[in-house]
Symmetry: C2
Amino acid sequence: MQNKVTIKDIAKTLGVSISTVSRALKDHPDISESTRNLIKNFAQEINYRPNVLALSLRRQKSNTIGLIIPEIVHHFFSSVISGMEDLSYREGYNIIICQSTENQFREATALQTLIDHRVDGILVSLSKSTQNFSQFKKAQEEGFPMVFFDRICESIETDRVVMDDLEGGRLATEYLINKGCQNILHLAASPILLIGRNRRDGYLQALKDHNIPIKEELILKCDTQEEVSTLRNHLYELLPQIDGVFAVNDSTAIAMIQILKKKGYRIPQDIKVVGFGDGPNATIVEPALTTIEQKGYDMGRESVRLLLQRLNNPSASISYQTRVFPPTLKIRESA
Amino acid sequence: MQNKVTIKDIAKTLGVSISTVSRALKDHPDISESTRNLIKNFAQEINYRPNVLALSLRRQKSNTIGLIIPEIVHHFFSSVISGMEDLSYREGYNIIICQSTENQFREATALQTLIDHRVDGILVSLSKSTQNFSQFKKAQEEGFPMVFFDRICESIETDRVVMDDLEGGRLATEYLINKGCQNILHLAASPILLIGRNRRDGYLQALKDHNIPIKEELILKCDTQEEVSTLRNHLYELLPQIDGVFAVNDSTAIAMIQILKKKGYRIPQDIKVVGFGDGPNATIVEPALTTIEQKGYDMGRESVRLLLQRLNNPSASISYQTRVFPPTLKIRESA
DNA sequence: AACGATTTCGCAAACGTTTGCGCTTGAAAA
DNA sequence: TTTTCAAGCGCAAACGTTTGCGAAATCGTT
């Protein structure tokens, strides 16, 4: 840190007290216009800037919010970050970012770090592997404002920002059914994740609604490009009996499309594919991916909006809100 | 911020002085084993955690580093962030992230904010539009440790982390030439950006090396997907006279491929295309994109490594380093 | 028994702010 | 001339730490 000029220095060179400088700089009425101008001009001249650290300590408020996110290199999550940064920038808050890399231990460390830094609130999307929420619970009990987004924790009452994942899964699956699919493979996320369960439940719901029998073997835990690759042989065996695929995210949907094409299946004629996310890849793959749109940027903004709303009404009387974004199906060529 | 327990509270309930608590907690030899244990146990019990803000103020060191980045929703940049976060996490630093959104004004604000927050150092990649570096110069003169990465500033002496963009451009272009191309279109970034100029110069270099005449009309400022779209008609006119394209980044290369395919050109038979970046899209587009690999994660790590090295050797005697990553050509199907 | 040397701890200043309170002024009111 | 009062300013505590220095207590040594 630098040899920055402080309020003390100004006081000394101008021959006034520290408190006078402080008050003058914030237009306190106790200070005469002449000394106020003197001080303000001088401060400007030497480019005085208050020490935010000292301010935070004094005010017991850091104007900083902490973010715990599973992955940064991820279109949805990076969009979320972008939305968060945009709004908090406007509102005078800064973001400290921590990446859990889908690792529960690192997630816990991150939480502790952020608390240690006395952030005013925390935004978090859980890692895939997190099953123990005790640290979050403790933070919650200590009155730490938290907003969960996307990958939320059901057992903790907080503000939340989510998609209607169940409806998304239902929508995607129903679309496939309406297009004539009867044997739909679901590439699912881990059931540890609520969003994974919800999207799967949406899939099941759609089948039920249309009186299509559920086949357990058509639900496969497979939520990354790599996993598609390792499960390749098993997938090959499944292909002859399916006419549709609903993948829990775009990248596995796309990996699936690539496998299908390699095996000579025509999309969408032989097998139809729907993804989830609507990232930039969706329009690059051929055929272009029909998928559920997920508004990361907006969800990011909404998360900090909720957080700030709570920070600004410390009365704590507002009951917890859950903001749910409706899914929309982007119809393209893959289904 | 919360009603967290402080060192003072511990002192009071245990009937010792504040300084004793402080020393006990950090195993200062002056404190007897018995009181040390007493204090440490109690601290653990009530889950005491030091106030980082107070520490930073006292130590004049925040263990925080600031990041100014043009865009977060961008594969290369998010990879950079990820690498930065990983290493700084390990080294006990936190990252405050600011997005300039390619806006010079916002970039300046971000810089000021970070300085106000007394970050220990700053990592920055310039916005596309930045032509005035005075604020950075001032920060530099005040002794603020800075590392520029990717989009660096030539006129300021700092540590730098870059790719050999010229060599990358040369490599890409030469590859096209060796494949038989004679009329290569270059979709270029703004010449304001050094990386834009360098990649273009690499293109020119390769042409010269192979005695191919340079045609100014084959160098087009066009570095986004959107710009490809707006320049569509102009591009159509150009197509009959070209047999190769070197695009300054993957997304414009891909947009170009899509246009070419729509117009009935076969890739790579009729026109070959090379991109720059090697993001995930490169393997999704068809034909898969031949492109220059850009190691964002590694460049991010290297940037904080350089920064920390400087922070840990405040002697300031080390001369500024420029770490340059060699480009490699990922050969796929588009060329 | 007296002394010096340790051991063990507390005081207080400092980091850079804000802010309640009290102290000077000078002028207006009595 | 004295009293009153507001205007204008400074003192000092506080936010939560660390740390140099001094002081008290304990101990061993003659």
